[in-house]
């Protein structure tokens, strides 16, 4: 992975920049010592580490705007960071970039039950939003697995998902408004407490823009009433094909489960060993199907799901009869990563999405690739929306294994694209999948995306080295090569 070479002109400004920042920020808001910087040298994509030029912790929008304006004037790069839980290196620092920690934007500003929304500063955690409205029976729907730590600002930047997005959507489907600061310090507000912001859907564009367009400072999100009840079925199958057919049959029957998760044999054994959720150890594939809503509907649909599973040859069928049982079904799935972590010194967590019907084929190919690369792989899978999380196990202390694991990961993601899927379902491109963007998009596709980037950040100073494999100058992208002049297609119908 090649990051942009640090620019000497930026490195040379470090001392004067520090003096300027310290002129209006408190001592503890500017971190420049080696030990302090090392604390920020990576996010949850820990394969790569790089201490930043300087860390700045602004207290409010005014300070943030001032910091950005200074960086803009000095042509210094900027990387924004929430809680640093990105799995794709979205908040990986650069040696010649100021890292802006948004941790002090930690206040919930407004809870508005009459409009069913909550407004919070961007550093508030995802879970805190749900907790703030739980007393009145509400919650914030997207629930990425890092929800205890990840921030809502980071969720917006990455368009985070979770296990319930099949029914409730991703971050982008649950937002009403936001406030952001552009690199030149301009504060822009989008949307509000109403649905469908006016003008171009910049709210939709910003969501999932991976910190390349602006720094998000405030978010207004919709809150939903907690469903009356939730029940889950635990379904075991003798083959991945059988499990895949049941997933398709559930969807085809018009049922949209709140969660539809699949685990392979390795994960089932690993999690059973780890926390004893009571999983059947003799199955090749295990599904958790969760239904939520009114009790009458949930009971009815769960019975239909169980009937479908039996008809397709399930070898193990259990339906949760109480909340404790439902949570037990989930406990294994939720501890999948630590369970694997115990069995392998290191692992890479991948994140592709495929059409559901390709599931069995992709798992077969993955097993072949595993043999080719000589590395173990295991799968947890948001089967409902086709979002795969293969975990590639390796040992970073064995020379060459990380590179081999990365090669294996790339091969899996190429496979996802090949069968009609995409490189990333919820973790983002970041640096991790940056160099694979060309497998999904051609030069024109990428040029258009980068021109949009130019509309926000003409100098390309905001989070460079992420998402796009090649940096182009905006002037070059904007150049027009037009030809012609004669009215085309005399044969076309004209009226």
């Amino acid at each position: 992975m090649q990051m942009p070479a640090p620019e000497p002109a930026i490195l040379a400004q470090r001392e004067v920049l520090l003096a300027e920042l310290r002129g209006f920020l408190a001592g503890d808001q500017v971190i420049a010592d080696g030990a302090g910087l090392r604390a920020y040298d990576s996010d949850a994509f820990t394969a790569y580490r790089q201490p930043p030029l300087v860390v700045v912790l602004p207290n409010d929008v005014e300070q943030l705007s001032q910091v950005l304006a200074i960086c803009h004037r000095r042509h210094i790069k900027v990387v924004a960071r929430g809680a640093g839980t990105s799995l794709s290196g979205g908040a990986l620092p650069l040696a010649d970039a100021v890292l802006i920690g948004m941790g002090r934007f930690n206040r919930i500003l407004d809870i508005d039950y009459a409009n069913r929304c909550i407004t919070a500063q961007s550093g508030v955690t995802n879970l805190a939003l749900s907790e703030a409205v739980a007393g009145r029976g509400f919650y914030y729907a997207p629930d990425p697995s890092s929800q205890i730590a990840c921030t809502i600002g980071g969720n917006v930047a990455e368009n985070s998902g979770g296990v319930h997005c099949l029914k409730y959507g991703m971050t982008t489907n649950n937002l009403l408004g936001l406030e952001m600061v552009l690199l030149d310090g301009t504060v822009v507000r989008l949307g509000g407490k109403h649905m469908d912001a006016d003008g171009y859907d910049l709210l939709g564009l910003l969501t999932g823009s991976e910190g390349l367009l602006g720094v998000i400072t405030e978010v207004t999100a919709r809150i939903l009433p907690r469903p009356e009840t939730a029940r889950a079925a635990l379904l075991g199958f003798a083959s991945n094909e059988d499990a895949g057919r049941v997933v398709a049959a559930i969807i085809a029957a018009g049922i949209v489960p709140a969660g539809l998760e699949m685990m392979d044999r390795f994960i089932v054994a690993a999690t059973e060993e780890f926390c004893r959720p009571g999983y059947p150890l003799y199955v090749e594939a295990l599904l958790i199907v969760e239904l939520d809503g009114p009790a009458a509907e949930v009971d009815d649909l769960l019975a239909r799901v169980v009937a479908i599973a039996r008809a397709e040859g399930a070898v193990s069928v259990r339906a949760s009869e109480n909340e404790m049982e439902r949570l037990a079904f989930w406990s294994g799935r939720k501890s999948a990563f630590p369970a694997v972590g115990r069995l392998s010194p290191d692992y890479l967590c991948m994140d592709g999405t495929i059409p559901r019907k390709q599931l069995a084929h992709v798992l077969r190919r993955m097993a072949e690739l595993s043999r080719e690369f000589g590395l173990r792989v295991t799968n947890v899978f948001h089967a409902g929306d086709g979002n795969l999380h293969p975990l590639i196990m390796y040992d970073a202390n064995v020379p060459g294994e990380l590179e081999r694991a990365e090669g294996f990961g790339s091969a899996i993601l190429r496979l996802c694209v090949e069968v009609g899927g995409v490189l990333t379902g919820e973790h983002g491109v970041g640096v991790e999948k940056r160099d694979l963007m060309g497998t999904m998009f051609d030069a024109d596709d990428l040029a258009q995306q980068q021109r949009v980037k130019c509309a926000f950040d003409p100098e390309g100073r905001l989070n460079p080295g992420k998402v796009f494999p090649q940096l182009h100058r905006c002037a070059e992208l904007g150049r027009l090569h037009v030809h012609g002049g004669r009215l085309p297609f005399p044969e076309l119908p004209r009226f």
Binding site: G161, G199, S209, E297, D300, V422, D444, Q449, H483, F495
Partner: protein, 420 residues
């Protein structure tokens, strides 16, 4: 004046390259059902995308459909219905506002690309999302004559910028859309509606909020004043304002939830005790499936609102709880013909022609939201800001976004904002 109707991507690209080379502005159209909405485009030539009218791929078990942008919505919806699926954002048909009065059994107007380009969503918006939430991928040609694709064919996708959202609601000003991929969902087995009679707007909004905050999964919530309700066959004879709450799903679930909803509102209806206020429950059953579907189609299509040459229609997106205050400020002054949909978050106001835009927009200044002059004469739309004016920093950013797709301003110039 030429009208281009390409049927192949190569031809579309060639036309746009020609237009870019000569800086020739083009009016981009689809089924022409939204010509009456927005700023009229001053362009000598028309680029119709109606020729891209085929369904390319439909996989019911993947919940996804890909079709040419010019594919009639009616064809898409008919195909989905065969497999018990639907476009969950419930695209409305506002072609009638353009003066094209269709026969009652005529197929619904509009194209798939058109409904995405206008980000048009119906009553289910708050429960199922907008058109933009269902548009997961697209292919288009920008104003430089370069084809590009964005998004994909799977719902869960964060690869690259979400350009499908940006293009949804851009009214053809950024790129000529020729292929759209949408997420589809199972259609509900059954739909029923509960009616509440004689509520004031305050009580209606409170009741709708109470219903939407409940566990009963309400998928439609609208309030119609007396005169407007009287124009709906299902509500005729109600004699006053009607608030409608819709519940959809498997039949047993719908029955259960309707009962729960009724009990909830009976117990705590904030408007209870108002003269004439209260629930229709004991003496008459909720609307059945057929009546319910017809009523919600009428609400989405704005059928009960009179559209006459001496009237113009405003569309206000606002925080639902602010709707009563906004109505109190505007309705007595301008009109008794209005309709509150989407749980109170969408207000349609039928005002006398020439109603000052500033007086409509001023009431949103404190609560937030935006007002669009949705239907009026072409002359009137050409002379005022049809879309809500944006603050300078946002307007400047929007302009730069426009330029990033269409630097020469050849695609629907001025359709949204006169400046670009």
């Amino acid at each position: 004046m030429a009208r281009f109707e390409p049927r192949r991507l190569e031809d579309l690209v060639e036309i746009l390259r020609w237009a870019a080379a000569g800086r020739v502005p083009l009016a981009v159209t689809g089924g022409d059902s939204k010509a009456g909405i927005g700023v009229p485009v001053a362009a000598e030539h028309e680029l119709s995308l109606a020729g891209f009218d085929r369904i390319h791929n439909y996989e019911p078990e993947e919940l996804v459909l890909t079709a040419g942008a010019g594919t009639p919505l009616a064809a898409v919806e008919a195909l989905l219905a065969e497999r018990g699926q639907m476009l969950a954002f419930e695209p409305p048909d506002h072609s009638r506002l353009g003066g094209v009065l269709a026969a009652p059994d005529a197929p619904r107007a509009g194209t798939l690309g058109g409904v995405v380009a206008a980000n048009l969503s119906g009553p289910r918006r708050f429960a199922a999302g907008a058109a933009r939430d269902h548009c997961i991928g697209l292919r288009a040609v920008n104003g430089r004559g370069e084809p590009f694709k964005a998004g994909g064919r799977v719902v869960k996708n964060v690869t690259g910028f979400d350009l499908p959202k940006l293009l949804a609601g851009s009214w053809g000003t950024l790129a000529a859309l020729w292929e759209v991929t949408v997420k589809v969902l199972p259609a509900p087995e059954c739909a029923r509606s509960l009616l509440l009679f004689g509520l004031t707007p305050e009580a209606a909004v409170a009741a709708m909020n109470q219903a939407l905050a409940s566990v009963h999964m309400v998928s439609g919530a609208a309030h119609l004043p007396a005169g407007v309700a009287a124009r709906c066959p299902a509500l005729a004879g109600s004699g006053g304002a009607v608030t409608v709450l819709r519940v959809e799903g498997p039949e047993s679930s719908v029955r259960h939830r309707l009962a729960g909803l009724q009990a909830l509102l009976d117990a705590g209806l904030p408007g209870a005790g108002l003269p004439g206020g209260g629930l229709l429950g004991g003496e008459s059953a909720p609307l059945d499936d057929r009546e319910s579907r017809a009523l919600w189609t009428a609400i989405g299509d704005l059928t009960p609102l009179p559209v006459a040459p001496d009237h113009e229609l405003w569309r206000l997106a606002l925080p639902p709880a602010s709707a009563p205050a906004v109505l109190a400020a505007l309705a007595p002054q301008f009109t008794s013909d209005w309709l509150l949909d989407q749980g109170g978050g969408l207000l349609w106001l039928c005002c006398p022609a020439g109603t000052p835009a500033e007086s409509v927009r001023a009431v949103l200044a404190t609560c937030g939201g935006h007002a669009t002059l949705w239907h009026a004469s072409a002359e009137r739309r050409a002379e005022i800001s049809v879309f809500h004016p944006q603050p300078p920093a946002l307007a400047a950013l929007s302009r730069r976004v426009k330029q990033s797709f269409d630097p020469l301003g050849i695609l629907n110039p001025g359709r949204m904002y006169r400046e670009f």
